[in-house]
């Protein structure tokens, strides 16, 4: 009986010691983290201009922030955006990206390659301000995505494509696009049957869906008599 009680006391003791250790470690970590944040803030403040002006510097800065779980873009009100004016910067960039995507939507069905979007966004921003980089636009699009705007980044073959229409590109569509991307921006039904092992029906369904969404143009003019499906943003 005594032994059992002793055992229990010891257990409680160990638990208390364990908890104490854990909370001490947490305190130390919090202290370290807050020191690190402080350093990061000082760093950001000192290099404010570089961060604003230089896209590459900005990219590294973001990576550094991400590694300790600080998101300088998270809020428009926070210290970070006040310090750097980032909130406005990415908000503005997001709006410009949306406008560029909207303007081209009738032509490309709401899919645009990221490189092209960067060119268009910089055109919209004009020459008076520093050009933004691909990384900046990617950040802006990710932010838009979080708002549930239907903006998404897709990987099609070797390209990164911005999708500005809500809706899922299903797996079949994605495979069709990858095939088209690999052969220069177009594809025939028979190519897909061969390479993907799809039935003609399945191929037609995927191609028709892409056509209906305005993402593909048909070409019946080739001498082999086979209809080709072209994807403007992939050629």
């Amino acid at each position: 009986m005594h032994g059992l009680k002793q055992k229990q006391t010891a257990k409680t003791h160990y638990r208390q010691v364990g908890e104490q250790l854990a909370s001490e470690r947490l305190a130390t970590m919090e202290e370290q983290l807050s020191k690190f944040r402080k350093v990061l803030e000082d760093f950001a403040f000192r290099h404010k201009e570089d961060i604003k002006k230089d896209p590459i510097f900005r990219k590294h800065f973001h990576e550094m922030c991400a590694s300790i779980g600080v998101d300088p873009l998270a809020s428009n009100k926070g210290m970070w955006s006040e310090l750097l004016g980032f909130g406005d910067f990415y908000y503005e960039l997001g709006v410009q990206a949306v406008e560029a995507c909207m303007a081209e939507r009738p032509l490309n069905g709401g899919l645009m390659e990221i490189e092209e979007l960067v060119v268009r966004v910089n055109k919209r921003r004009g020459h008076k301000v520093d050009a933004v980089s691909k990384d900046d636009v990617v950040q802006a699009i990710r932010k838009l995505g979080k708002l549930g705007s239907g903006f998404k980044l897709l990987n099609i073959g070797t390209r990164t494509v911005v999708q500005s229409v809500p809706g899922e590109l299903n797996r079949d569509h994605n495979q069709v696009l990858s095939q088209a991307e690999s052969q220069g921006g177009w594809v025939r039904g028979v190519d897909l049957e061969k390479s993907l092992g799809f039935t003609p029906d399945r191929v037609q369904q995927a191609l028709q869906a892409l056509l209906n969404e305005g993402q593909a143009w048909v070409d019946d003019g080739h001498e082999d008599g086979e209809r080709r499906y072209w994807f403007p943003y992939l050629s």
């Binding site: 092209e116 268009r120 390209r159 143009w217 072209w230």
Partner: protein, 188 residues
């Protein structure tokens, strides 16, 4: 990667002064698109191209069946009959095309509207002191002296159409010349 100017500006082209837009080398541009929204965009691009081409190359009239622009040999693509008709209809709806008359399928290409041509001709006659002069329609269209005028090279059919409208407004007088085929015109 699609160049940023893919659908809008011009680059490349097959020699000559006119620069063809990039979409002119895009094979599906020569197949009438089955999906409505895409087709509308396609027809708008054709309309834009034809008007710019006609203005630059002084094309006043064409036969849809044989119009050189409707075929791009470099990429081995040509529009079929249905597509040609759709484009002409689209131009006509917007007042950029009009049947040339005379039975065939030829159409007048109005990169300036008929009333713009009326104003242009009147202005020209006043500006160059041709009022009260008698000219032949043929002279107006082809005279080397008038090579810098925008109506130089206009087909006789279209010129007569414009002049008849001016005649109704009593701005010109038309009369049969000595040659059976040639009409005379006097700006009043």
């Amino acid at each position: 990667m699609v160049d940023s100017s893919f659908f809008t500006s011009s680059s490349g082209g097959a020699g000559g002064a006119f620069e063809f837009p990039e979409i002119y080398s895009y094979p599906p541009f020569f197949t009438l698109q089955p999906v409505k929204e895409t087709r509308e965009k396609q027809l708008a691009s054709w309309r834009d191209l034809i008007v710019k081409y006609a203005r630059s190359e002084r094309v006043f009239e064409f036969d849809p069946k044989t119009f050189a622009l409707f075929e791009n040999k470099a990429i081995q693509r040509a529009l079929n009959e249905t597509a040609r008709q759709a484009i002409v209809e689209n131009l006509t709806e917007r007042g950029l095309c009009e049947k040339a008359g005379g039975g065939g399928g030829r159409v007048h290409l109005l990169w300036k509207s008929l009333s713009e041509w009326e104003a242009y001709l009147l202005d020209w006659a006043h500006r160059t002191g041709r009022r009260e002069d008698v000219l032949t329609v043929d002279e107006l269209c082809t005279s080397g002296e008038l090579a810098t005028e925008e109506f130089h090279g206009m087909t006789k059919g279209l010129m007569e159409k414009v002049l008849k409208r001016l005649e109704k407004q009593k701005k010109v007088m038309l009369f049969q010349g000595s040659d059976q085929d040639d009409q005379g015109v006097k700006f009043l």
